[in-house]
Amino acid sequence: MSLLRVENVTKRFGGLVAVDNVTMEIAHGEMMAIVGPNGAGKTTLFNLINGVFFADEGKIWFEDVDVTHYPAYKRAHMGIGRTFQISRPFASATVQENIAIGAMFGAAGSETNVDQAMEMADHYIGLIGLSSHRDKLAGGLTPIEKKMMEIARALAMKPRLLLMDEAMAGMNPKDIDKMVDFIKRIRSEEGIAIVALVEHIMRAVAGLAERVLVMHQGAKLVDEPTKIALSDPRVIEVYLGVPPGEADA
């Protein structure tokens, strides 16, 4: 049984086919990357998976439940967590409150009261190493701190699937390596499947994912284990332009 199954999903915006008949699967605990150049439809696919948009055609199954028409909050309750490409903190709430909101309303939300959520938040604040910023307003964090806080907020939701949209964009190679280690760690500690969207940071893809789905102009181009996918001539041609070894960050 796969955790998530996307079947022939299409999304159009007017005449533009943003996601074109994409089929994909993610197993429990799997680590996968979706790569593709700007405009390939990666974020739209994410938005379809977690219910920000609804698919025009096709079906989405999560743990064998047809969630195609479920609103975003229901999918969150079922265990789909998400971080954003451009961080979206609740800016005038504290770091602790931001993360506690994830605990209060996520998959374990119905059994979590405010005090418990605050305690859970403290745990995840420690995990991301922001303990000294606990009572700071989230709007005042640096961009990287905001990204970390978003990950903690999504983890506090106790997801089974975590969608990470460009978690490493704008980071230097050292930070990327740190982030890759961190994502690997939370994946093994929390036992969740992770799908990471990456536009062009091949260093992250190679270090992180077991499998890579390459998107091009809304459609699925390649869906293979990482090594095979990144050396596929079609990928190199339409997406990388140069061999993957020289495409670091």
């Binding site: 920000v52 975003a72 909050y73 969150a76 209060m104 996520g106 405010v114």
Partner: protein, 331 residues
């Protein structure tokens, strides 16, 4: 903040209401001013529970006060001769809440699916539309309204009717303000408060975090409307002993509520009473010294407040108190 200490910010608010009440009792000559101030504070407190907490501006808010006024008016005019005594007042209060809740469900089910400014536009017509419906369809006597001072006198006697509308109605307004304060802090400190804060800051992110935003908006909307219904039943129906649609559906009351909440600080607990007192006192003295120019004075004041102090008076005070011992008392 854990346990009972999270409710500490209600203390200054409740003390302020108590102080205002005692001031009124000690200065009978000023009771009318005190009653007016209590009305503005209660109006702000009830309105803030929705507008302050969700960031949505309901321009049709006065319709809930209006329909609450009718709830009390109908109860007294229909049941006065049934020998229920003061039970009629209780029924009137319940009816005003029921009416306001039903209307808020109807309005909310449609309008709360809209975002921000679209919601505001959708609600502008609600009170006008409702007023014309009552007048045009001749519901509840149409534009002739309901005058129930005679029934009230026959029901409880001349003396009691007098003290009901000149004193006890105002006491009940204080009661509404206190109920609104308590509900506000319970909401703010509960999960619903975090849900509303999240959707106020970023509604899309809130949905992705698992927050059923429509549900929480509707809960806040209904609560705020029910309080408005009670306010209409007490501050208007019991106090005036008549109701005319042209009086109780005036949009300027909604505008006053918005001014009070913005002056005090939207989404704060202390804001409505601060805003209500500033607004009420300055309106009173402007009416004395610059009659007719109140609105002309208020318009620029509001613009200045919104530009310079977008978080209102209390937001500004809160900033100053961060890190001090008083911080935990201000919300």
């Amino acid at each position: 903040m854990k346990g009972a200490s999270r409710y500490l910010p209600s203390i200054p608010v409740l003390l302020a209401y108590a102080a205002l009440f005692v001031f009124g009792l000690l200065n009978p000559g000023r009771w009318q001013l005190v009653a007016q101030l209590a009305f503005y504070c209660a109006l702000g407190q009830a309105f803030n529970l929705f507008m302050g907490m969700t960031g949505y501006v309901d321009f049709g808010y006065v319709a809930f006060l209006g329909i609450g006024t009718y709830g009390m008016a109908i109860s007294i005019s229909e049941l006065a001769d049934k020998g229920l005594g003061l039970g009629v007042i209780v029924i009137g209060l319940i009816l005003s809440v029921v009416f306001a809740v039903l209307l808020s469900l109807a309005v909310g089910a449609v309008a709360l699916r809209l975002r921000g400014a679209y919601f505001a536009i959708a609600t502008i017509g609600v009170n006008e539309g409702f007023r014309y419906l009552i007048e045009g369809a001749r519901i509840w006597n149409g534009s002739e309204g309901i005058i129930f001072s005679r029934q009230l006198r026959e029901m409880v006697g001349r003396e009691a009717a007098m003290s009901l509308s000149t004193f006890w109605a105002d006491v009940m307004v204080f009661g509404v303000a206190v109920i609104a304060t308590v509900l506000t802090i319970v909401y703010m400190r509960g999960k619903i408060g975090y849900a509303l804060a999240a959707l106020r800051m970023d509604e899309d992110a809130a949905k992705v975090m698992g927050i059923n935003v429509t549900r929480f908006k509707i809960i806040a909307f209904i609560t705020s409307a029910a309080l408005a219904g009670l306010l209409g039943a007490t501050a208007w129906a019991l106090k005036l002993t008549y109701v005319f649609p042209a009086d109780v559906f005036g949009i300027h009351y909604t505008v006053e509520a918005i001014i009070i909440v913005l002056l005090g600080g939207a989404g704060t607990l202390l804001g409505p009473i601060v805003g209500g007192l500033i607004y009420g006192v300055s309106k009173y003295y402007l009416a004395v010294y610059l009659p007719g120019f109140q609105l002309l004075v208020f318009a620029p004041v509001i613009i200045v407040v919104i530009v310079l102090f977008p978080e209102g008076t209390v937001g500004m005070i809160k900033r100053k108190l961060i890190g001090t011992a008083l911080e935990k008392y201000i919300l």
